[in-house]
C-alpha cells in the first residue's frame, strides 16, 4: 500500500513534477539509432516526460531533439524539410538547426537578425550502442554519458528493441523487479522459448517454485536475490539488478544472451519499454537475432510500421483460452513481454496503490519505492543527485550462481555483480 500523495510523487513525471525532475537527472533512451538512419532523413516525433519533441539528423549527421512545434504559428515540424543543415517548417519556411535555434525567417530582412530571437527548447541527443540518448535536465548538471555494458560491446553482440506500453512507467517497472511472478505467469516459457531453453538452471526453477528472496540495497539501487534449492544442500541464486530509476538486468541462463529493460515515461499514462539482449564475449548468433526479431524472449512482434505490439489491448492481446486451459500459457497470452504488459495495462493507466495488499515477498517493490521516494526528497530538498547517475552505478551485471548455504550472495558473488571486460556473466 502506498499513499496517493506518495504514488503521485513517483508516477507523475511531466514538467514541474518531482518525479519528472528525478528522470531529468539521467541520460534516457529516446530513440533507436535505426529510426534516424541517415543524414537529412525524415524527422521522428518523440514524446518523453509529457513533452512533445522532434528528433532529426541533419545534413552533417549531427543529432537534434527539439520542441515539435514551430515558434511561428505552432504547426508540427514533423512535416518539415530536413535539408542543408536544419529543419525547415513547410508553412512559411522558418528554419531551425539541431539546437532549436532559428536560422532563417524568410519573410524578415536577413539584416534585422530577427531569427536570432527565436529558439525552440532543445535537448542533447547522443548515439551509444544503437540507442540515441537524451538528457532533459539542467545543462550544468549534465552527467557523464551512459556506461551500460550492453551499449559498450561491439554492435554484433547486442540487440535492442522498444515497445509502447499503455500504462504508467512505475507499474511496468515494478513488474520487472517482481521476481515471484515468474514461477506462475511465465512458467510455460522456460522450456519452449529459444532464448531460455536448454539451460541447466531451468530445472532448478521448475523443481522449486517457491523461491526465498533476499533484497539488498546496492549503491545504485537494489540487488534482488532469489534462491532455490540445488544439489548437495547448495543454493541456486538468481540475482537481479535494479538501478535507479528504471533499469533492470535479469539473471542469465546458460550461455544465452543476458537481457533487461528500461521503462521511460512517455506521459503519465504510457511508457516506453526498452528491451536489450547482449553477450559480453561473443556475437549473437543469427538464430538468436532472428528469434529476437520474431518477438521471442523479452521482445515482441509489432503492428506493421509501429512500435505498438501486435498483441495489444485493442485485440484483447490475442488471448487464447484453449492454450490457457491446456497449460501452454498460464494467462492465455503468448510471449513473456506481452504476458507482463497485458496484466500491467489491465491495472488501468495508473494503478490505485491505496487498494493493494502487498505481502512479504513484495519487499523488492517496497524497497524500490522507498529508495525512489527518498531520492526524490533529497533531490527536491537538497538538490542532491540520485543514485544511478554516477556511471559506476551503471557498470553492473546480473548473475546466476550456485553457492554454499552459509555464503551471502553479496559477498560470494561480489565480482560477478560488476562488469569485468572480456569475461562472460556468471551463469548456470
Amino acid at each position: 500500500m502506498l499513499k496517493k500523495e506518495q504514488s503521485d510523487l513517483l508516477t507523475l513525471t511531466g514538467p514541474g513534477t518531482a518525479g519528472g525532475r528525478l528522470f531529468r537527472c539521467y541520460w534516457l533512451p529516446a530513440l533507436l539509432s535505426s529510426e534516424l538512419p541517415e543524414n537529412d532523413c525524415p524527422p521522428v516525433r518523440v514524446k518523453l516526460l509529457s513533452e512533445r519533441l522532434l528528433a532529426f539528423r541533419d545534413s552533417e549527421g549531427r543529432l537534434g531533439l527539439i520542441d515539435e512545434f514551430c515558434a511561428h504559428r505552432g504547426v508540427s515540424l514533423w512535416f518539415g524539410r530536413n535539408e542543408e543543415g536544419g529543419l525547415r517548417c513547410p508553412y512559411h519556411g522558418w528554419k531551425y538547426d539541431r539546437t532549436g535555434q532559428c536560422i532563417e525567417v524568410p519573410s524578415e530582412p536577413v539584416e534585422s537578425g530577427f531569427c536570432n530571437k527565436i529558439k525552440l527548447k532543445s535537448y542533447p541527443l547522443v548515439e551509444r550502442g544503437g540507442v540515441l540518448w537524451t538528457y532533459m535536465g539542467p545543462a550544468d548538471k549534465q552527467p557523464p554519458l551512459p556506461e551500460w555494458e550492453f551499449a559498450q560491446v561491439p554492435p554484433e553482440q547486442s540487440f535492442m528493441s522498444k515497445r509502447i506500453q499503455e500504462s504508467n512507467w512505475l507499474q511496468a517497472m515494478e513488474g520487472g523487479i517482481d521476481s515471484s511472478h515468474v514461477s506462475f505467469l511465465h512458467r510455460g516459457d522456460l522450456n519452449s522459448d529459444p532464448l531460455f531453453r536448454g539451460a541447466k538452471a531451468n530445472q532448478y526453477n521448475l523443481k522449486d517454485s517457491r523461491p526465498v528472496f533476499e533484497v539488498v540495497e546496492s549503491p545504485g539501487g537494489l540487488f534482488i536475490g532469489a534462491r532455490r534449492n540445488a544439489e548437495s544442500g547448495n543454493y541456486y541464486w538468481r540475482i537481479t539488478q535494479w538501478v535507479m530509476p528504471s533499469f533492470t538486468m535479469i539473471p542469465p541462463r546458460g550461455d544465452h544472451p543476458v537481457h533487461g529493460h528500461f521503462w521511460i515515461p512517455i506521459d503519465d499514462d504510457n511508457c516506453w519499454t526498452w528491451s536489450f539482449d547482449y553477450h559480453p564475449t561473443r556475437a549473437l548468433s543469427p538464430g538468436e537475432v532472428a528469434a529476437m526479431r520474431d518477438g521471442k524472449g523479452i521482445h515482441v512482434k509489432y503492428e506493421p510500421g509501429t512500435f505498438r505490439p501486435l498483441a495489444n489491448k485493442d485485440n484483447d492481446y490475442l488471448i487464447d483460452r484453449a492454450a490457457q486451459k491446456a497449460g501452454r500459457t498460464f494467462s492465455g497470452v503468448e510471449g513473456i513481454a506481452m504476458q507482463d504488459a497485458s496484466l500491467q495495462e489491465s491495472m488501468g493507466p495508473i494503478v490505485d496503490r491505496t487498494k493493494e495488499n502487498l505481502v512479504s515477498t513484495d519487499n523488492g517493490i517496497i524497497m524500490a519505492r522507498h529508495r525512489l521516494l527518498r531520492s526524490v526528497k533529497a533531490l527536491m530538498d537538497k538538490d542532491q543527485a540520485p543514485p544511478g547517475v554516477d556511471s559506476v552505478h551503471q557498470l553492473v551485471r546480473s548473475a546466476a550462481v550456485i553457492l554454499p548455504p552459509d555464503k551471502p550472495f553479496i559477498e560470494a558473488a561480489k565480482d560477478a555483480l560488476v562488469v569485468r571486460a572480456g569475461t562472460a556473466h556468471a551463469s548456470v
Binding site: 533484497v215 485493442d314 517496497i366 559477498e411
Partner: protein
C-alpha cells in the same frame, strides 16, 4: 468496436472500481533480536499502528542451563514476558529485526516456532556502511534459515515504510 480490454483499462472505467475495503487487518509481530534493534523497535512502537505488536527477545531468554522451553523467549516493550507460541500462533507475519554484527541467536528459536506454526517470516537486517562485510554475513547466516524473506536495509526508516506498505 472497442475491445473488452481497451474499454476496461481506460481511465474512465477506473471510476467504476468498487470503493470498499478488500482486506481485513493483519496481525503482525515485530520482534527485536538484539539491543540496537530493540531501540529501533521502541521508536517504531511510538507511531500508531493497526493490529501490530512490538516485542523483544532480550531480557527474556531463559537461563542457558534451564531445560528448553518455548516459554520466556519474548517480552513486550514494558518487559512483560510473553509465551512465544501463543504470540505467533495467530500472526500473519513475524518480522525479525536485527542489527548487523550483533548476536541474534534467538532468531533460530523464533524461526523454529514460526516454522512449526506455518507463519510467514521476514528478517530485516539494518546495517551501516561502516559495518564489515563479515559481520553482516554472520547476521545473514543466522537469519537465513528462518526468514522466508530477507532484507538488508541501510537505515531504519525502511522498516516503517515496509510496515506501512504491508498495512501493519
Amino acid at each position: 468496436m472497442q475491445s473488452e480490454s481497451a474499454r476496461a483499462a481506460s481511465a474512465a472505467e477506473a471510476r467504476f472500481r468498487i470503493d470498499a475495503p478488500n482486506s481485513q487487518p493483519r496481525s503482525i509481530k515485530v520482534i527485536a533480536l538484539d539491543h540496537p534493534s530493540e531501540a529501533i523497535v521502541k521508536r517504531l512502537a511510538t507511531s500508531v499502528w493497526g493490529n501490530t505488536s512490538f516485542l523483544t527477545t532480550l531480557a527474556s531468554a531463559p537461563p542457558r542451563d534451564a531445560p528448553f522451553s518455548m516459554r520466556g523467549w519474548l517480552a513486550d516493550l514494558a518487559g512483560h514476558t510473553k509465551i512465544l507460541v501463543d504470540e505467533i500462533e495467530h500472526a500473519d507475519l513475524v518480522v525479525m529485526i536485527a542489527t548487523a554484527g550483533e548476536n541474534i541467536e534467538s532468531a533460530s528459536i523464533i524461526g523454529e516456532a514460526c516454522s512449526l506454526k506455518r507463519v510467514m517470516t521476514t528478517g530485516l537486517v539494518v546495517t551501516a556502511p561502516s559495518v564489515p562485510g563479515a559481520e553482516l554475513s554472520r547476521s545473514l547466516a543466522q537469519l537465513r534459515p528462518w526468514a522466508l524473506m530477507l532484507v538488508v536495509a541501510s537505515a531504519e526508516d525502511y522498516i516503517a515504510d515496509m510496515l506501512m506498505a504491508l498495512r501493519a
